[in-house]
């Protein structure tokens, strides 16, 4: 019990530090005190006297951005944990079911082909594309045997198809500027993020985490495969259906807000496993926290590494994450 409380307090502390840093650090550095006062003013009318420009930057841009980054990192990491455990494949990530490929096709259809006649936003197109691709992949998986391998192969087929569609449209119809814009979007981009995005991303992330956490014991039971899980009393089909649907919705939502940011959903789950172990009751919240903090950090770096230029966050996640993961791998004793 004491360990649970200590863990929870540490987790909250890490999250607050990350969020505060996200709000304070940037092209114009803003003192932490101003950040805290801004939040106080907004949340309970504290009435501090602040420079309205600083307060506006903190509240309207940076905090919204940090919160979406956190929701997104947490979601991707949680989806990665669930899919790796369920499909029993260390290479599974949230995009394995064709979601990012479908989202990019959807985004391209709206941005370049002009689907929806300006009525749809890029995000709406991406979300619709993600769901269409996932639907096709799910159908294919159902018709091809339902096992983990069938699901993965169906995902590969779907991803390839939609990636090819995206490339086809981009090379055929896009201007150089459009192609660059799409490329930037595909690698992940938090610059357009505002409060309405927070109100979408945060509930989806928290709700998704809560549902997955309720299935923690069932996910544990998949360690020795679906047959063994079934003999331990897990309703295997229902768990597959629920978990895959929940992770697909979480991923599709995040991708439609920020693009398909790589690395987090693949590697943060492994890092979390190495640190807290394989029990999902602990692993899921730990991965969520690690993913959130990591994503906020990557976003700060992407805004500050090259002054005056914002790098795609997907570049940053891998650039920073890969060496960090290498360190964890090396430090871990191979066999005890």
């Amino acid at each position: 019990m004491l360990r649970v409380v200590a863990g929870g307090v540490t987790a909250l502390a890490v999250l607050f530090v990350a969020l505060a840093s996200g709000a304070a650090i940037g092209e114009t550095a803003i003192p932490l005190a101003t950040v805290v006062k801004t939040v106080a003013n907004r949340l309970w009318d504290a009435g501090h006297d602040l420079d309205p420009i600083d307060a506006g930057i903190v509240w309207n841009y940076r905090i919204a951005r940090a919160l979406v980054a956190a929701a997104c990192g947490a979601s991707l990491a949680v989806c990665g944990v669930v899919l790796q455990s369920l499909l029993r494949n260390a290479l599974a990530d949230p995009y394995i079911l064709g979601i990012s490929a479908g989202a990019s096709s959807g985004a391209v259809a709206v941005a370049i082909l002009g689907f929806g006649g300006g009525f749809f936003s890029l995000s709406a197109g991406a979300f619709a594309g993600a769901l269409v691709a996932f639907g096709l992949v799910a159908l294919l998986a159902l018709r091809s045997g339902r096992g983990p391998v069938a699901i993965i192969l169906a995902g590969i087929a779907g991803s390839q198809l939609f990636n090819a569609l995206t490339s086809f449209v981009v090379t055929k119809s896009a201007t150089a500027d459009q192609a660059r814009g799409i490329m930037f979007w595909l690698l992940g981009n938090l610059s357009g993020v505002r409060w309405p995005d927070v109100f979408l991303a945060l509930p989806v992330a928290l709700g998704g985490l809560a549902i997955c956490w309720l299935y923690a014991r069932s996910l544990d039971a998949f360690a020795f495969g679906p047959q063994s899980a079934a003999s331990l009393g897990v309703p295997v089909r229902r768990v597959y259906a629920t978990m895959i649907a929940v992770t697909a919705l979480m991923t599709a939502t995040m991708v439609s807000i920020v693009g398909s940011i790589g690395f987090v959903g693949l590697v943060v789950p492994h890092a979390a496993r190495l640190i807290v172990g394989v029990r999902h009751g602990v692993l899921l919240p730990a991965a969520a926290l690690a993913g959130a903090a990591f994503m906020i950090g990557a976003d700060i770096l992407s805004r500050t590494v090259i002054p005056g230029q914002v790098l795609p966050i997907g570049v940053m996640t891998a650039l920073v994450g890969a060496p960090a993961f290498a360190l964890i791998l090396i430090r871990r004793p191979v066999t005890r």
Binding site: A221, A223, F224, G225, A230, S231, G233, G277, T335, R336
Partner: protein, 266 residues
Amino acid sequence: MKLAARNLGWKAGRRTIVDDVSLEIMPGEFLGIVGPNGSGKTSLLSMIAGLRRPVTGSVLLEGRDIARLPRRDVARKVAFVEQQAETGERLNVRQAVELGRTPHLSALSPWSAEDEAIIDRALDDVDMRAFADRPWQTLSGGERQRIHIARALAQEPRLLILDEPTNHLDIEHQVGILDLVRSRNLTVVAALHDLNHAALFCDRVAVLHEGRLAALGRPPEILTDHLLADIFRVDARVEIEADGSCFIRYARPSTTARRFTIREPA
């Protein structure tokens, strides 16, 4: 714990794998399932455990169709140890055994001292307490098999279904495991390859041959020279001991009857 199989049949494509098998498992008995490779033992056991849906017939657990019971309710009464089950997860021995408590815990119910005691006992039963903190991947084949059995015991079932439980075990632990599950207040159904083990531990044996139930009864009545020649294609003598149990002595195949010819090097 009474379980009845009624006219069970299973097909893979068009091929019939299990053909119209009916049998009843009596509370407290140790029923052995024997038969050559591919005779359908694993298929029959997974239907009995409710893990595979029969194409024909049904399995009744205490009179109710097992296919209609919630998986969790079945798992509180029936544990199944697969012929092979592996993991890529980095769990340790204790965590592997803890999975056995899954059907008894809900999402929110905490891990209790009682669960802890059950895990300790299961580890002791298979003689693996000292291995509790070892990573799974470092275990030998026989040690893994013993942990699978410990997990099934931690499930506290009333019916224990074992698919070749003595696989990979040294002779001490082969006899030890069979004796352990027999001495528990458990109903046991086990697929066995060693007919002497079947003779020594089983109250009854069922002989499967090409998916059909070829014989069912007490070992000395069933395991005859005749049956061994017909179904297992070995030349053997069955000797009845003074206490009524039986013992099988295999003869070396004669050269003319050798079924696997060994080619001379050119």
